[in-house]
């Protein structure tokens, strides 16, 4: 049961995340360049992300 994240990552965690995103791009490039995989890749696309939408605080 996921809970909404408390805050955007910061500091060391943020740096780790940035590294990971770079890693993801590198992974895609690796797959595209792979001699056995690359020739069979027929499409590269993406589904955009979205930010969390929280309900207005309410009482009751």
């Amino acid at each position: 049961m996921p809970s909404p994240p408390a805050a955007a990552p910061a500091g060391r965690e943020a740096r780790a995340w940035a590294t990971l995103q770079d890693g993801m791009r590198r992974l895609i490039e690796t797959l595209e360049a792979h001699p056995r995989i690359g020739p069979h890749l027929v499409y590269r696309g993406r589904a955009e992300g979205r930010a969390a939408a929280f309900a207005e605080p309410r009482t009751g």
């Binding site: 590198r26 069979h40 955009e48 992300g49 929280f54 309900a55």
Partner: protein, 964 residues
């Protein structure tokens, strides 16, 4: 409320669901994986408890494993309310020990977690024991609702209707909150599933990270080899990766290949499937969550359930059949707000190829519908009977359970004896106590069990309609990802025995198929063609099966299947009636007309999952160059289950869309003459012959106006030659003890039957027998039509008991003490002693009808040693048998006499035997006359009133309709 659960805020969709619950509405949350649906259920429960502090909830999960995943989460979430774990939530399913079951029934937790099967078989049939839970039921949460499609969905619809009726009857007022994956037309689906109006919340407020998507279309290499390379590359780059396969065997194969390719990865990768023990699965999940494992190869077992942590890559080894499923699997990666990658490796089949050629479809949000048909007669009838066993039904109940179709259904069920009307009319109940046991939720009829050869362990069950297609002797049967070979059938036990095997082939039956249109229910134009929807009878003759290689699909061998009974399926379908001149157009343009129709049928069925979620056995197809009923070229697509499951109706409604996509598939596939990616079907019953891909494309051009039919394009002879040689519609007394001696008549008294008293209406009979005839009941003579001839009522008493002769299997050794007949027209009784038996035989043989109670199985068997087998030629009417056939079990004469006529039997069989031993044949005769008279009165009551009465075990008095 949030504070009660230790939370600070909610996503917008959770708040919206809560608002709808507060307004008193049922609500469906159709939002992506990991958007917090369980939290929404719990908030809805708190909202209900704010109004009624005692309110409890039922959480229904489709799978036991899913329920176990959620138990801890729910208990932890409710802990801030001060509830001990056992007070907060308990699981009640097939694995719950008996001792725990009693405790849970007596003191139900706030949240009872169960599944539809347990509701159906355990909770609803014992609803009185569950009164504490049902009486305060405030919320029903239905998780993973999209799973309830087809046959299973139709059953679950009725289980939910039964639940709502009983809960309301016990004082509960449940609202429903349901959760589903993102699907097409979600509100229509959930309203069909539950039979209630719903509010829809489908705008998720949960965050989603950017997802990269790659499509891979292997052409010169196996998709599994390629998937292994992708997995290895991702894992070696340090990304936590999950690869989803469609079968357990493939899971193991990829796992094995990866370890062979890179032994260094062996400890960082695992396989995960449903057959593992729960603790093994938990260990894999823990290692994955902790980052100890970098890769996991899994069947669908991991596509929902607990959060396994922030995975980076999801590889789909084959399109999982629907966008809903694909996105659910993709959603397992990138669950935290960080980028992720999804890689779809396409298989060589029509659907996969369509998807990778049309990325815009993949991202369009055009999710497939989830369809079910609660009106399936077989299913709806069965559940109405089940409801009638749980609590008698009145007209309001019938309307609540079945809607407008209810009254006609009740009438039919009463006529067949499956429901009984109460003696005071207006209520109905089931004569059987537990009809639920005969309703498997995953099939439409009585299923066959698949059992392990040797141990007899049950592996699964399958619908009888699929037996000869999927589980014939020799068939390779995939169950829970494991492979078995069916060895033999045991028809009496409805069991198919199978053994586990490791083989590199699959099996496929060859069959001849014909279809007959029984009724056209709807019709419309489809370009120059007519599109019709209606009831069909499909008759299939299974002739052989072939073994085909798993990789490459070429046939290895073919084996005949002898003596398979013709398989008849009555279902619904939609069919295209092509205009006159279609075949001529095909012939003139040098296409193969039968091959064109056949290829069109395959391709359209292959793409059907784009409209509605289904699997390969849910639909069947058949094509004709000239259908005998309409003399036109026709392509049929039908639901593969008796009565239909809602798919064909969807096809009829959306045929333009289906055929347009089929046309695109055929245009885009660059094969020469048809391949598995377009028109070759892995389940074709005629070995994919003939197929003409380009002819199919031409027919689709005809539908969308790019071509024209040409009635006189070629001479008739040429058409006939083109059709010749191709079948269309092809797809798919030895006992222990003493020898039997014919007893010799020994009784000294005068022969030929002695006349005694007559029926005396309303007055006690002075001389031995008979009972007082019920007042107001017409005499048998008044009830017989002139042309019905001479009728006798008849009974026998024996010299020995069943116990004395070695049981009820030796009735023929009991010996005749005496028999009594009553002439229906004259009202004359006659008593026949053992010495009169031959005269008795002649009298019975001369009668037009001999009416008795258990006359066939008992009385005639007693006489047979005296009179030989010819006594079986007597024309009998056995009242016991008539009633047994109607309600499914036997009732005694004493019971029926008491309930129908208010008359008790004057003695019983044991007393009669005692009198025989004491030589008091006078008393035996009186007793026998009483029974004959009672039989006559029961017959008269049935004929006069059209029913007899009985009392159920629940104490309800019901009418059994009779027509004798």
């Amino acid at each position: 409320m949030l504070a009660a659960l230790g939370l600070e805020r909610t996503y917008t969709h959770q708040a919206a669901a809560l608002d709808e619950i507060a307004r008193g509405r049922h609500v469906l949350l159709a939002t992506p994986t990991a958007s917090g649906k369980t939290l929404a259920y719990l908030l809805a429960l708190l909202a209900r408890r704010a109004v009624d502090p005692a309110a409890g909830a039922l959480f229904v999960y489709p799978l036991k494993a899913l329920a176990r995943d959620q138990l801890g989460t729910i208990r932890r979430a409710l802990a801030p309310l001060g509830l001990e774990p056992g007070e907060a939530a308990e699981i009640y399913d097939g694995d719950t020990p008996e001792a725990d079951r009693r405790r849970i029934r007596r003191r139900p937790p706030v949240v009872l977690i169960t599944n539809p099967d347990m509701l159906h078989l355990g909770i609803l049939p014992s609803h009185d024991a569950w009164s504490p839970m049902l009486g305060r039921l405030g919320l029903v949460a239905i998780d993973e609702a999209h799973v309830y499609r087809g046959v299973f969905g139709a059953h679950v619809h009725h289980v939910l209707r039964r639940l709502l009726r009983l809960a309301r009857g016990h004082g509960g007022s449940p609202q429903i909150i349901a959760g589903s994956a993102t699907i097409g037309a979600p509100r229509a689906f959930i309203e069909t599933l539950c039979g209630e109006p719903f509010a829809l919340v489908d705008d998720s407020g949960a965050p989603a990270a950017l997802r990269h998507v790659l499509f891979v279309r292997p052409d010169t290499v196996s998709p599994y080899t390629l998937a292994t390379h992708v997995l290895g590359t991702c894992v070696r780059a340090g990304h936590r990766t999950i690869a989803f396969t469609k079968a357990r065997r493939i899971t193991e194969l990829i796992y094995q290949w990866l370890r062979e390719q890179d032994p260094g990865l062996a400890r960082r990768v695992a396989s995960y499937r449903s057959g593992y023990l729960p603790e093994e699965r938990r260990a894999i999940e823990r290692r994955l969550f902790a980052g100890e494992l970098l890769g996991v190869v899994s069947t669908s077992a991991l596509e929902s359930g607990i959060d396994v942590g922030g995975l980076d890559v999801a590889i789909l080894v084959g399109y999982p059949g629907s966008l809903a499923n694909a996105w659910q699997r993709i959603g397992r990666a990138g669950r935290a707000d960080r980028e992720s990658l999804a890689v779809l490796v396409a298989m060589p089949d029509a659907l996969d190829q369509y998807v990778v050629r049309h990325p815009e479809h993949f991202f369009s949000g055009a999710f497939e519908q989830v369809v079910l048909d609660p009106g399936n007669d077989t299913i709806a009838d069965a559940h109405l009977v089940a409801a009638g066993a749980e609590q008698s039904l009145d007209a309001g109940d019938v309307a609540m359970l079945q809607g407008p179709a209810g009254p006609a259904r009740v009438e039919r069920l009463v006529a067949s004896g499956r429901l009984i009307e109460t003696s005071d009319r207006g209520r109905w109940f089931s004569p059987r106590r537990r009809p639920q046991r005969e309703i498997p939720l995953r099939s439409t009829g009585q299923p066959w069990q698949l059992r392990l050869l040797g141990s007899g362990r049950q592996l699964g069950s399958l619908d009888e309609s699929r037996l000869w297609f999927e589980a014939h002797p020799g068939a390779i049967y995939l169950h829970a990802g494991r492979t078995y070979r069916v060895v033999e059938h045991v028809p009496d036990e409805r069991v198919a025995l199978a053994e586990p095997v490791e083989v590199d082939y699959y099996t496929q039956v060859y069959a001849r198929k014909e279809t007959e249109i029984l009724e056209t229910l709807d019709e419309r134009a489809l370009g120059p063609a007519r599109l019709q929807f209606g009831r069909l009878r499909v008759t299939t003759e299974v002739e052989a099966y072939g073994r085909r290689r798993l990789f490459g699909q070429e046939e290895i061998s073919r084996h005949p299947l002898d003596d398979v009974p013709p398989q008849r399926l009555e279902t619904v379908g939609f069919w295209t009636v092509f205009p006159e001149g279609t075949v001529e157009m095909l012939v003139a343009d040098e296409f193969h007309p039968v091959g064109a129709l056949h290829a069109l049928e395959h391709a359209a069925i292959g793409l059907f999952p784009l409209l509605a979620i289904c699997d390969r056995w849910d639909l069947g197809g058949i094509s004709y160059a000239r259908h005998p009923q309409q003399d036109r070229a026709m392509v049929f697509v039908y639901d593969g289950f008796p009565g239909g499951i809602g798919l064909a109706r969807t096809g009829f409604d959306r045929a333009e869309e289906l055929f347009a996509r089929t046309a695109r598939l055929l245009e885009e596939c660059d094969c020469e003459a048809g391949c598995p990616s377009c028109v070759i079907s892995p389940r074709c019953g005629s070995g994919n012959h003939p197929l003409d891909k380009h002819g199919a494309a031409a027919m689709l051009e005809l539908l969308d106006g790019r071509r024209e039919a040409r009635p006189r394009a070629v001479p008739d002879g040429q058409v006939a030659a083109a059709l010749a040689g191709h079948r269309t519609g092809v797809h798919a007394g030895v006992r222990g003890g003493e020898p039997l001696v014919r007893p010799r008549p020994v009784h000294p008294e005068s022969g030929a039957g002695r006349a005694a008293s007559r029926l005396a209406p309303g007055a006690p009979d002075p001389d031995p027998g008979a009972l007082a005839w019920p007042e107001g009941l017409p005499q048998p003579a008044e009830l017989l039509a002139p042309g019905e001839g001479r009728w006798l009522f008849f009974d026998v008493e024996t010299r020995r008991s069943a116990e004395e002769v070695g049981g009820w299997g030796a009735i023929d050794r009991m010996g005749l003490a005496l028999a009594v007949t009553l002439d229906a027209r004259s009202g004359e009784f006659r008593c026949w002693h053992e010495c009169d038996v031959e005269a008795l035989g002649r009298t019975l043989a001369a009668a037009d009808r001999v009416v008795g109670f258990n006359v066939d199985r008992f009385a005639l068997t007693v006489l047979e040693p005296y009179l030989g087998p010819s006594i079986r030629r007597v024309a009998t009417l056995d009242l016991l048998e008539v009633i047994r056939k109607r309600i499914g079990f036997r009732l005694g004469l004493a019971h029926l006499g008491r309930e129908t006529l208010g008359i008790d039997k004057s003695a019983d069989g044991l007393q009669s035997l005692a009198w025989v031993r004491d030589g008091r044949l006078d008393l035996v005769e009186k007793y026998c006359r009483d029974d004959v008279a009672l039989t006559a009165a029961l017959w008269a009551a049935g004929r006069h009133r059209g029913h007899v009465l009985f009392r159920s075990r629940q104490g309800l008095r019901g009418r059994i309709p009779v027509d004798w």
